[in-house]
């Protein structure tokens, strides 16, 4: 069984040859995971990058420097922009192709990859879903931690209640939207005699901004394997008429300061959000929110809803990563996802009545108090001390 499923295939996302950051991050994690895997199991499985595009050979070379052992490259003018149907078809062909696998291993029994990675963004989340539907195996999405383990499991269905050992199982950890709980997903063969079935690859889509790429190493050696994609007219049925890059109305990068709020506004959301906006105005800051707020859990006026409780303002792994000079987090407890989005900030001030909030470990100043009490005082002090600044500017 072990030689039927080998290697970790990483589906690379790029825009005309420029890799989307999550692609290099995935490679980095893939490299670390497989180095550990090969050591633990004394094996020689590869990290294989899968690239679909047109005239992006340069990209393939870079991928090797960033950790890929091999790059399977399908070039075609039809693969220039991302279209789900044809991408799914081609990637699935590549995944099932024994000849390709033979280029980098003993593939006499090769059926499909052992593991697969995708980026968890608009394209990758859907692409991973359709590829895994085609490959008839399991997918866990929005993952931020991965561990390979030999697990002994007793499952009413998977093992018919027996204790069975599953070797080389990929534990895929996904945070829930509050950011405080981890759900671990496993993709497991059915070892129940009534319904035996093998499920590979074990696949996941990875949250951008979580893992770090490896240091670019131009001394790394690898090979680019060309693949001629097979598709028919019908696969090309989606026509892209127009594409344009949009700038978000919310521009964090041009602001020196950011004030964010989270569920701490809940006692009187409308008023508290007004306070936050006032504070932001005072220091010419942009306003950000924590992920739960974008789900609109509070009832507020339409104006406030459409201005603030929008995905564009989310700071965190599911949103934007920022690094302003000054970051003020009001009523934010400090879920991992949010911290990941702002921890590079210069100076971090948190306002929170609960001293046990995780954000206390991630800030420079922790103002203990409720935002409805603290912000008015802050605003007053900011106004009081402002004229001094004007004088200096002159």
């Amino acid at each position: 069984m072990t030689s039927k499923y080998q290697h970790l295939y990483v589906v690379i996302e790029h825009d005309d040859g420029v890799p989307v950051p999550v692609s290099l991050e995935m490679l980095g994690e893939a490299r670390r995971l497989m180095d550990g895997f090969n050591k633990k199991y004394s094996s020689d499985e590869k990290v294989v990058a899968v690239v679909l595009g047109h005239n992006v050979h340069k990209l393939c070379e870079e991928l090797i420097y960033y950790g890929a052992d091999y790059v399977i490259y399908a070039d075609s003018p039809e693969l220039r922009s991302r279209r789900n149907i044809i991408d799914t078809k081609v990637i699935s062909q590549i995944a099932r192709n024994r000849e390709l696998a033979a280029k980098f291993s003993n593939a006499s029994e090769f059926v499909k990859p052992r593991y697969m990675f995708f980026g968890a963004d608009s394209i990758g989340r859907h692409l991973s879903s359709t590829v895994l539907a085609e490959l008839e195996s399991g997918l866990a999405s929005d993952i931020n931690k991965l561990v390979v383990e030999d697990l002994e499991l007793k499952h009413e269905h998977k093992t018919k209640g027996q204790a069975i050992k599953y070797e080389k199982t990929l534990e895929m950890y996904r945070p829930d939207f509050s950011g405080f709980l981890w759900t671990t997903i496993l993709c497991l063969d059915n070892r129940n005699p009534a319904n035996e079935r093998e499920y590979h690859p074990q696949a996941c889509s990875i949250i951008p901004g979580v893992f770090a790429p490896i240091e670019r190493d131009s001394s790394r050696r690898g090979e680019i394997v060309d693949y001629i994609p097979k598709f028919d007219e019908h696969d090309l049925r989606v026509r892209v008429l127009d594409r344009k890059i949009v700038k978000s109305a919310v521009d964090f990068d041009s602001h020196k300061a950011i004030v964010s709020f989270g569920k701490g506004v809940k006692d009187s959301p409308e008023q508290n959000i007004k306070l936050v906006a006032e504070l932001a105005k005072e220091i010419e800051a942009e306003v950000g929110i924590s992920l739960p707020i974008s789900k609109k859990p509070f009832s507020v006026s339409e104006g406030t809803n459409s201005t603030y409780m929008i995905p564009d303002r989310v700071i965190g792994t599911s949103g934007r990563k920022v690094a302003p000079l000054l970051y003020i987090a009001a009523g934010i407890s400090g879920a991992m996802q949010h911290i990941a989005g702002m921890k590079e900030s210069g100076f971090i001030v948190a306002i929170n009545p609960d001293e046990n909030s995780p954000i206390k470990d991630e800030c420079d100043i922790f103002i203990k108090g409720r935002m409805e009490d603290v912000i008015p005082i802050l605003v007053e002090e900011l106004r009081k001390q402002r004229p001094a600044i004007e004088v200096k500017k002159k």
Partner: protein, 623 residues
């Protein structure tokens, strides 16, 4: 572009009546309303009358809506109509029920959210059968003409064409403004009305006002409650609420600006009114801060819930229909059982949570609007090209002494306009000669138009009879000769005839003066009034609290632009805007913050005034 025969702009009572009438005549008509649903921006005093004039015909609400008398989407039938002259804690009361019943089939107190909701249901059902209907959440931005058809452009949907337009968009008619059909009304031509809805359980209303379940009372006030402005206060009984407000000459307010909320507060503080509106209210006590946080939260939650139960049960107990429902549902076996439960809940609140039960009043909604005085501003020719103006949009409000009518006038106008349009559709002739002039003629024949031009001597007699008890020395001193004249039947006829020849408008300044509305009543009350003791002091909400209770859908852009921030008029807006949207900035400039605007139009004279875009703006719950 889509084509429709008739477009009615504005979904108030007049517009809806036009839609119903046209649809019943098998004509296709659409109604465009800016609010998210018809009625959301409407507010009225308000009483809806049905008239049987001695001369001419009045198209009444029950003529347009045959189901009206069956469904009765109204509050109470007014059977008592009293005028009170006030001075401090003294009141002199005159029974004017005869004036209210004069030439009337009935007068019902109404709340427009409910009334117009019902009108809309009837009108849209009829309209849909003709391929028309109501489109809400759409604000008309401009009108232009192409081959004699009107092209209507809106903020929300694609432009469409109409052969005829009925403008029913109220006293601040944007249609009138954008077409230049008439000038904006000036303060001398307008009244500013402001009111609050007060909660009072059904049976308590009946007991307090001495009325039966199918009856209602209307009380009017003049004297010191007006803070020396020309106009008066009113209090109407609804089913389980009261409409309490005041209507004042806008130019009187311009001469000596008072905040509208101050005016309505003066009325609420009057001892007679205070005694009318009082109720039993539960006051939450402060929760012991020494208790653990969770305990505090749990207690706060429990008290809120229990007070809500007490309020709901109390309202049900004092409502005939609700009591019946409770007993029929099996939850309670008898009225006594409901009372017992109510008492026990009250006892629990008092003993367990220290809740206090005090006498105070409960306010539900604050609102204001401008009312056109037909005597001064009714459009002589209420049409422009193929647009017919009806109701407040045509300046046609009836104001005669205590008689204020707008709803029924709008409905009457609507029928006349609908008839004119239907006739035009049949001949496919929408010219001013065939349609506009026909409508204008019809309006001339309306008994309401008569009331805007002449004094009705029989109506006058009613007042004189009602004022029988008024000491001659108070009245006589001021009007001396005139009063002597009026008291005599024959001479009265001659005098009124003469006055009508002279012209109503010449007499108006004499009649509608501070003397009539303030000084005479004050003297009356002082000299002849009875004393009224208020048993408590009403806790009046601040204007900020009143605004907070209103519901808005804010359009982030401002719908009004200040044209001259330094003008005298705009400075007065700082005081006269009912929701304090205007303020003075450092440099003497008046600035606008539009979020609390209730679209009354008080500031429309010197601003680029518009309603907000579709669905946006204020949303009245009662109206």
């Amino acid at each position: 572009m889509e084509h429709y025969d008739v477009a009615i702009i504005g979904g108030g009572s007049a517009g809806l009546a036009a839609l119903k009438q046209l649809s019943d005549m098998n004509k296709q008509a659409i109604l465009i309303e800016a609010g998210r649903k018809t009625g959301s921006k409407n507010i009225s005093g308000g009483i809806l009358y049905s008239k049987k004039p001695k001369h001419g015909k009045s198209y009444n609400v029950e003529d347009v809506y045959p189901e009206f008398l069956q469904d009765l989407p109204v509050e109470r039938k007014i059977t008592q109509y009293m005028l009170h002259a006030t001075y401090l804690d003294k009141v002199f009361t005159m029974n004017l029920t005869a004036a209210h019943e004069y030439q009337a089939n009935f007068g019902y107190s109404v709340l427009l959210n409910r009334l117009n909701g019902w009108f809309a249901k009837q009108a849209s059902e009829s309209a849909e059968r003709q391929g028309g209907g109501i489109v809400s959440g759409v604000h008309v931005r401009s009108l232009s003409w192409q081959d004699e058809k009107t092209v209507v452009e809106t903020d929300e949907i694609e432009p469409f064409e109409a052969k005829a337009v009925i403008a029913a968009d109220g006293v601040n008619s944007e249609i009138a403004e954008m077409t230049g059909a008439r000038e904006k009304f000036t303060p001398e031509q307008l009244y500013q009305g402001v009111k609050v809805i007060v909660k009072l359980p059904e049976e308590i209303i009946e007991e307090r006002f001495g009325i039966g379940p199918d009856e209602g009372a209307a009380h009017l006030f003049a004297g010191d409650v007006t803070l020396h402005h020309i106009g008066g206060g009113f209090l109407y009984t609804n089913l389980d609420t009261l409409s309490v407000g005041a209507v004042y000459h806008y130019d009187s307010l311009m001469n000596r600006p008072s905040e509208p909320y101050t005016l309505v507060n003066a009325l609420l503080k009057n001892p007679l009114v205070a005694e009318f509106i009082k109720d039993q209210v539960a006051i939450k006590e402060e929760i012991d801060k020494n208790l653990p946080k969770e305990e505090q939260l749990r207690t706060r939650f429990a008290v809120s819930k229990l007070i809500k139960t007490w309020n709901d049960l109390r309202d049900s107990y004092h409502s005939r229909a609700a009591k019946k429902r409770l007993i029929e549902s099996g939850k309670y076996k008898s009225e006594e059982e409901i009372k017992a439960r109510l008492d026990s809940v009250q006892n629990d609140l008092a003993t367990k949570y220290d809740t206090k039960f005090v006498t105070d009043y409960v306010e539900l909604e604050y609102g204001a609007k401008l009312v056109p005085d037909g005597k001064r501003c009714a459009m002589k020719k209420p049409y422009y090209k193929n647009i017919l103006f009806i109701g407040d949009a045509a300046g046609r409000g009836v104001f005669v002494g205590p008689r204020i009518e707008g709803l029924n006038v709008g409905i009457d106008d609507a029928v006349r306009a609908a008839n004119a349009v239907a006739r035009a559709i049949d001949k496919q002739n929408f010219s001013t000669q065939y349609m506009g002039e026909f409508y204008s003629q019809s309006i001339e024949e309306s008994p309401y138009t008569r009331d805007m031009k002449e004094i009705d001597k029989d109506y006058l007699k009613i007042f004189l009879d009602a004022a029988r008890d008024v000491p001659k020395d108070i009245i006589g001193q001021r009007y001396g000769m005139v009063f002597k004249l009026m008291s005599s039947g024959t001479l009265r006829g001659l005098a009124v005839g003469f006055a009508n020849i002279l012209g109503y408008d010449k007499l108006l300044p004499l009649v509608e003066s501070e003397e009539t509305y303030v000084q005479v009543p004050i003297e009356l009350a002082e000299k002849k009034g009875r004393q009224v003791q208020a048993t408590y002091e009403p806790t009046i909400p601040t204007i900020a609290q009143r605004i907070a209770r209103l519901k808005y859908d804010d359009d982030r852009i401002s719908h009004i632009k200040v044209l001259n921030p330094k003008s005298e008029f705009m400075r007065k807006m700082v005081t006269l805007c009912p929701t304090l949207c205007y303020s003075m900035e450092g440099g003497g400039d008046v600035t606008l913050q539009h979020e609390a605007c209730i679209e009354c139009g008080t500031c429309s004279q010197e601003t680029d005034w518009h309603h907000p875009r579709g669905e946006k703006g204020v949303i009245y719950q009662y109206g």
